[in-house]
């Protein structure tokens, strides 16, 4: 239970007086509280440092060492105190947790020592407060990485193949994660090799080779060994085409694949070859053909499939698009301004290079980026003055947006890391809350099943598992609510089974009486969903509420299939009078109680025979009570 809930339990129980006039059945007896009511101060001696605290403070968390009876093992009768041979500095933080309900991580302590102390005192590290959680997690991760071996990278990609995967899925996985099979790895390296070969060939074929005999001019190698280069090109394109077609075949969503960047690059890389094949050897179109060959350089981008770094760079540029755009825009503005000024300043000079404003653009760019080729220089004094202003401002304009982009990159990178951490943390927290709620419910159901409601004398109290007084009182409260409404709490498993058995119209000889009574029920689950939707709009949703809603909606989805088929049952409705006797009778026969499960999630219902016997024995005690009940 959350912090300080134990403080409010007496209040919640007192408020149960409000149910008394409405109750359908008599209220159960309250648990006997043997302990004295007076609060006392406990002395805790941790390696010589004495702490004192109220007993109630420690009792707030009954599932830790100090809150449970486990601390009695450390009680020293001679000195009338609890002695722990542990770190006194750390104990201060542990005790503060009891006092304030928030666990803080002391930054100067070693993370492993802290974890050990928490483990000793039975405190789960997940409840560290938000203020210290990030620091704690970072330190812990750092520590783990230092100790762990370098298998994390491989673990990330080595997700096991789902069973019954088609060859198509396997092929796709082989393409996406080449490390999974040797064939994929071989293919990966082969394509990488051919990309490199293709790029090198493109580069080399423009290098001038020694001309053949009888010619003076230097020929580029491409024309000298044109056949060899053509063969190499053909081979590369064949491999790329084959790869592209295989990817297209294996892709789970072909449209999405065709729209993706990598596939566009693939197409652009191989298209020029085919277009070149198709086009005739004509002087007119050879210019266009040459242009097409430029696109062959895009093959180098195919390397981004092989390099994670390229992909990250590409993603960063994409995400910094707005900053880059700003840079470009401001540069353009500056270029236009200075080009105009320079043009008009140099207009009078004879034989000037600044023939027009667009011609001055080149000068401005070269000056602003501090290149200074010297092919265009101003001659007039005004031109020189403005030229110097241009070069000075160029340094500023270029230098300003660059840190923005760099910091943007850094921010995006860290944000990504943090978002992942927060998502994981949130998931863990929700799961823990869900588990705690389930644990409470299951504890109550288990308590019921163990016959905790029977009027036990003090001698048979030992048979029950050791349960704190808080739990006793809380269960009594929940029991009172059950009696007020004349309905019992069950768990989701039983409930969903009930929903489904009713929808299917399940009838056995044992359950004839039940189904006749329960056949009239309207579709419960969609109604609940509707009510919950309305309530969601009204209620204040805290995190714990949110998770319960989430849990309940999960349940609704699971069982929503059931009630649809119950319309036929609804047609033949009988007037249902929920007779108390019958209810207990049904309890004797059909209900499948939860077994005493220590792990709240997996609970397979046992064979119905045994619980039937158990219920029967309880049934007899119930019938006595049903007689006594008033006609309320």
């Amino acid at each position: 239970m959350a912090a300080g809930v134990a403080t409010w339990l007496p209040f919640a129980r007192a408020a149960a007086v409000g149910w008394l006039p409405l109750a359908k059945k008599t209220m159960p007896k309250p648990p006997v509280d043997k302990k004295s009511r007076n609060d006392e101060i406990l002395f805790v001696n941790v390696s010589g440092l004495r702490f004192q605290t109220w007993k109630n403070t420690l009792d707030r968390y009954p599932d830790t060492l100090l809150g449970s009876s486990e601390k009695e093992f450390f009680y020293n009768e001679d000195t009338q105190e609890y002695f722990f041979d542990r770190d006194p500095e750390m104990f201060r933080h542990i005790l503060n947790f009891y006092r304030t309900g928030k666990l803080h991580y002391p930054r100067q302590e070693c993370i492993q020592a802290f974890d050990e102390e928490l483990a000793f005192y039975g405190i789960v590290p997940d409840i560290i407060g938000d203020c210290c959680m990030e620091e704690y997690r970072d330190r812990k991760k750092e520590n783990q990485e230092r100790l762990a071996e370098d298998t994390e990278a491989e673990m990330a990609t080595d997700t096991p193949l789902p069973p019954h995967s088609t060859p198509r899925e396997r092929l796709w996985r082989a393409f996406e994660n080449p490390h999974t099979s040797t064939m994929a790895l071989v293919f990966y390296y082969v394509t990488g090799f051919f990309i490199a070969v293709s790029v090198i060939a493109n580069v080399v074929e423009t290098v001038p080779c020694r001309p053949p005999k009888g010619s003076k001019k230097d020929l580029p190698c491409g024309e000298k060994y044109s056949l060899a280069f053509f063969c190499m090109d053909t081979a590369c394109v064949l491999i790329f085409t084959f790869e592209y077609l295989m990817r297209l075949f294996a892709a789970p969503s072909r449209c999405k694949f065709m729209r993706s960047v990598m596939s566009v690059i693939d197409v652009v890389a191989i298209m020029p070859y085919y277009i070149g094949l198709v086009m005739p050897e004509n002087e007119d179109v050879s210019g266009a053909f040459v242009t097409l060959r430029v696109f062959r350089v895009f093959r180098i981008f195919k390397f981004s499939r092989h390099s994670q770094g390229l992909r990250i760079l590409g993603y960063t540029l994409k995400s910094c698009a707005s900053e880059l755009g700003f840079l470009l825009f401001s540069l353009t503005m500056a270029i236009i301004i200075f080009a105009t000024v320079m043009f008009y300043a140099e207009k009078g000079t004879k034989g000037t290079n600044f023939t027009s404003i667009p011609a001055s653009f080149w000068y401005t760019i070269v000056t602003m980026t501090t290149l200074g080729y010297g092919d265009m220089v101003p001659n007039t004094i005004a031109g020189k003055i403005f030229g110097s202003i241009c070069s000075l401002s160029g340094v500023l304009v270029i230098a300003l947006p660059v840190p923005v982009i760099v910091s943007n990159f850094s921010r995006i990178y860290h944000q990504n890391q943090r978002a992942d951490k927060m998502r994981a943390q949130q998931k863990v927290r929700l799961a823990r809350i869900r588990l705690a709620k389930k644990g409470t419910t299951n504890a109550f159901l288990q308590y019921k099943e163990e016959g905790g409601f029977q009027d036990r004398g003090s001698d048979s109290a030992l048979c029950l598992k050791n349960r704190s007084s808080f739990e006793h009182q809380h269960h009594h409260l929940l029991h009172c609510l059950e009696k007020t409404t004349n309905h019992e709490f069950t768990d989701e498993l039983t409930f969903s089974e009930m929903c489904m058995t009713e929808s299917v119209g399940y009838r056995t000889s044992r359950s004839t009486s039940i189904s006749s009574q329960q056949g009239v029920s309207t579709s419960c689950c969609p109604r609940r969903a509707k009510r919950r939707a309305i309530r969601l709009a009204n209620s204040t949703v805290s995190v714990s509420r949110g998770s319960v809603q989430e849990l309940d909606t999960l349940q609704v989805h699971k069982t929503s299939a059931g009630p649809q088929s119950r319309s036929s049952l609804n047609a033949r409705t009988e007037d249902l009078k929920l007779n108390c006797d019958d209810r207990d009778f049904t309890a004797a026969i059909i209900s499948i109680p939860t077994p005493p499960a220590n792990t709240p999630d997996e609970s397979l219902p046992p064979s119905p025979a045994i619980p039937g016997i158990l219920r029967n024995s309880r049934c007899s005690s119930f019938t006595h009570e049903t007689v006594k009940i008033s006609s309320l």
């Binding site: 809930v5 409010w8 007192a14 006039p21 209220m27 006092r99 409260l477 409930f495």
Partner: protein, 213 residues
């Protein structure tokens, strides 16, 4: 001149920051309860009990008051399977006797005193006050239906037998049949107290929660 404008700007900024901080401080509510003797006189708790109660209360609500959202959150923790917020809302109104939107320690302790140490008459009075949502002295069927629906909401979805649409309504009918003697569609405080005092089950269960504190 530059220096003086700089000084002016700096002082202005500091002043603005300061006033913002003051506003923040004023908005935090601090409530100190009446003295221990006074509370001892007004309620039926002993000094020690009041001390224990206050320590727990103060620890949970350092500001000294509980507002409705916190109240709902606290109460919902005891009923993880259902939705306790509607009933908590009614309960909050029952505890917040001066209707100022927050429950202070005095309200809390007075309410507890009635519930745990009060006479049967006082307890029934308190219950009537809880059911009477608009505090006009009459419980109508709609008010009762709201209360009962909120109680059933606390049970949640997974109940046995499965909760049906008409169960709350039936419950209201049963209640009115029992309590509304003159069949005028409303239950007054006298009808309520008379009827409850004649019902031995209710009378017996009133003693149940005596030893909660």
């Amino acid at each position: 001149m530059l220096r003086s404008t700089l000084v002016a700007v700096v002082t202005l900024t500091l002043y603005l920051l300061d006033s913002v901080e003051d506003e923040l401080e004023l908005s935090a509510v601090r409530h100190r309860p009446e003295g221990l003797e006074q509370l001892e006189a007004q309620t039926r708790f002993s000094r020690k009990e009041l001390q224990i109660l206050y320590r727990g209360f103060k620890n949970e609500c350092p500001s000294g008051v509980v507002n409705e959202d916190t109240f709902k959150e606290i109460y919902s923790q005891f009923f993880p399977q259902g939705d306790a917020s509607t009933y908590a809302h009614f309960l909050f109104n029952a505890f917040d006797t001066d209707h100022n939107g927050s429950v202070s320690f005095e309200d809390f302790v007075m309410g507890l005193s009635i519930l745990l140490r009060g006479t049967v008459q006082e307890k029934l009075n308190w219950a009537f006050n809880l059911y009477d949502i608009n505090k006009d002295g009459y419980i109508t069927k709609e008010e009762m239906l709201d209360i009962i629906k909120s109680i059933y909401d606390m049970m949640g979805k997974c109940t046995y037998p499965i909760l049906k649409e008409e169960t709350p309504r039936q419950h209201v009918e049963i209640f009115f049949q029992k309590m509304d003697k003159n069949r005028d569609g409303v239950v007054t405080i006298d009808e309520f107290i008379d009827c409850c005092q004649n019902d031995e089950n209710i009378m017996r269960s009133m003693q149940l929660f005596e030893n909660v504190i």
